[in-house]
Subunit: 311 residues, 2 copies
């Protein structure tokens, strides 16, 4: 942990010691200039960073401080899942305004919960004063064969984990002053990084993967662009939360479910039995200009390419 | 790079593409959920994260956007230097207010300059909207034998690299509306992470190291606490900028010089010849309650322990 001028060294270290005490076994090796992490022999290091900003990614009246911390860590851990990597450690850089200091232990608790769920530890971090709360989480992982976005080939099948739409349903309710349904709120406040699910898919030959952070169609387009292929998707079979229409659920972000491209059919019943969530085949990969075409019951409902918006 | 809701996916990706184009060869592999980094066989991974926040760590009227970006990256890279690690890659999470967007390429240029100086690359990042500029830099490095804070033993010698006081002199001038001297301003705006110097010291058996980010005495206390020893320091021989008194220079932070504990004398002339900066022995390690005692010409000028303030 390093210098955060705004809090003053003495006070900063007091708060950090307090946070580390809260984390207990969930934190390890904090206190040097940098942390040491061992990458298993023969595996590649996988790293990603993700910031959550108050008023942009979260609102204090919609989520508890613990949930805010939890979601910030999940957003980053989900990027490891998307590469089928096993987490090795997490670094947490907190930029914290004075009014948030009293809630910092609860934010830390939520981060610790996510880190424990992912089977890893907090290995380092930084604490500084700021005018708004920014939680920057960097995740380190390893994999013998990370799954990137570029491996999809014509003839492959496209799968999605879980049921979509919960975060959008919750946000829609919150934005209009309504209470979200319990299921929608749970999916919004407690998303799960699909770390084990990703490794299951990787063992079955997944050639490309991405997590659903911006919305199913936009994220599918990342695979199309990365692999230079066309994804032809049928939204109809996609399980949704609270009977949301699949075309709406496909726009729901911060799902942290996985889109996986596989060369041949996999045992979706075995997947559901092992993880308690569905795995659904909803499309195929075709040669052609990189892009996504989405259908519902034979009717084209969306198409787009690269990073552009969908019509 | 992942979701930054505030900017909208389309716009966010446009800006990221623009930044990556600016970085050119200084960026590599950006575009997947996470980046892949190879750790040399037999070496340990060293990681650290450091956030720089507007109004806390920098002011736009004191530094150019490029200098702000540069210093943010140096603060993190210096943590790798303090462990004698060789940088492997850098992740940059930018939380950026609207008025800063036009300057973002210049901030990125400064980050790129620091990354190039350190002989490494930007391997990933994140961009999101925010109300104030936060630059969170995570650095990855490797070392066959990282130097921690805990190895100092009674009888060892304490060295410091470079000349201290420049950043404090510059800040003092800026705070009172004066123009800093060129030397002081250069040390403030363009500090150098002592990566090669650290490896030189590690090869000569450095047992503990720390970079000077909070001030010489406070950072020396980290070694005292980590190694459970007493550091007895003579500030008199420490080279300073603009003839600042050593006792004042010892309070100057963000120096990014190194305090190194060595078991026996090293060739300071050879060091100066190789790196163009002085290496100065200014103390010794003694058994006793962990803490620091500082003298000038035989008179005790400061003492303190652990993380507490100095009297």
């Amino acid at each position: 942990m390093s210098n955060g001028i705004g809090l003053g060294p003495g006070r900063e270290f007091d708060i950090i010691r307090d946070l580390v005490a809260h984390w207990g076994d969930r934190a390890a090796g904090i206190g040097d200039d940098a942390a040491l992490v061992d990458v298993p022999e023969g595996e590649r290091l996988v790293v990603s960073t993700d910031s959550s900003v108050e008023h942009v990614h979260f609102r204090r009246d919609w989520l508890t401080p613990s949930e805010i911390g939890y979601r910030s860590a999940v957003a980053a851990l989900s990027d490891l899942a998307a590469m089928a990597a096993q987490p090795l450690g997490v670094l947490v850089a907190l930029s914290c305004p004075e009014p948030w200091l009293a809630e910092l232990p609860n934010v830390a608790k939520g981060i610790g919960d996510a880190v424990e769920l992912a089977g890893t530890r907090i290995v380092g971090g930084d604490l500084t004063a700021a005018r708004e709360l920014v939680i920057a989480v960097t995740v380190l992982g390893a994999s013998p064969a990370p799954v990137e976005r570029r491996g999809a080939r014509a003839g492959d099948l496209v799968y999605v984990t879980g049921a979509l739409g919960g975060p959008l349903a919750a946000l829609t309710a919150l934005r209009s002053g309504r209470v979200p349904t319990p299921h929608a709120r749970a999916r919004f406040a407690h998303p799960v990084p699909r770390i084990h699910e990703a490794q299951w898919l990787a063992r079955r030959g997944a050639r490309a993967m991405v997590d659903v952070s911006d919305g199913l169609l936009g994220d599918a387009a990342h695979i199309a662009a990365g692999s230079r292929v066309q994804l032809v998707l049928d939204l109809h079979p996609i399980p949704t939360v609270d009977a949301m229409r699949p075309i709406d659920a496909a726009r729901s972000g911060e799902e942290y479910e996985l889109i996986a491209v596989l060369p041949s059919p996999v045992d979706v019943a075995a997947f559901a039995g092992e993880f308690g969530i569905p795995l659904t085949c909803f499309g195929r990969v075709e040669a052609g200009a990189p892009g996504v075409e989405a259908y519902v019951a034979g009717e084209r409902v969306a198409s787009g390419s690269g990073f552009s918006h969908f019509s």
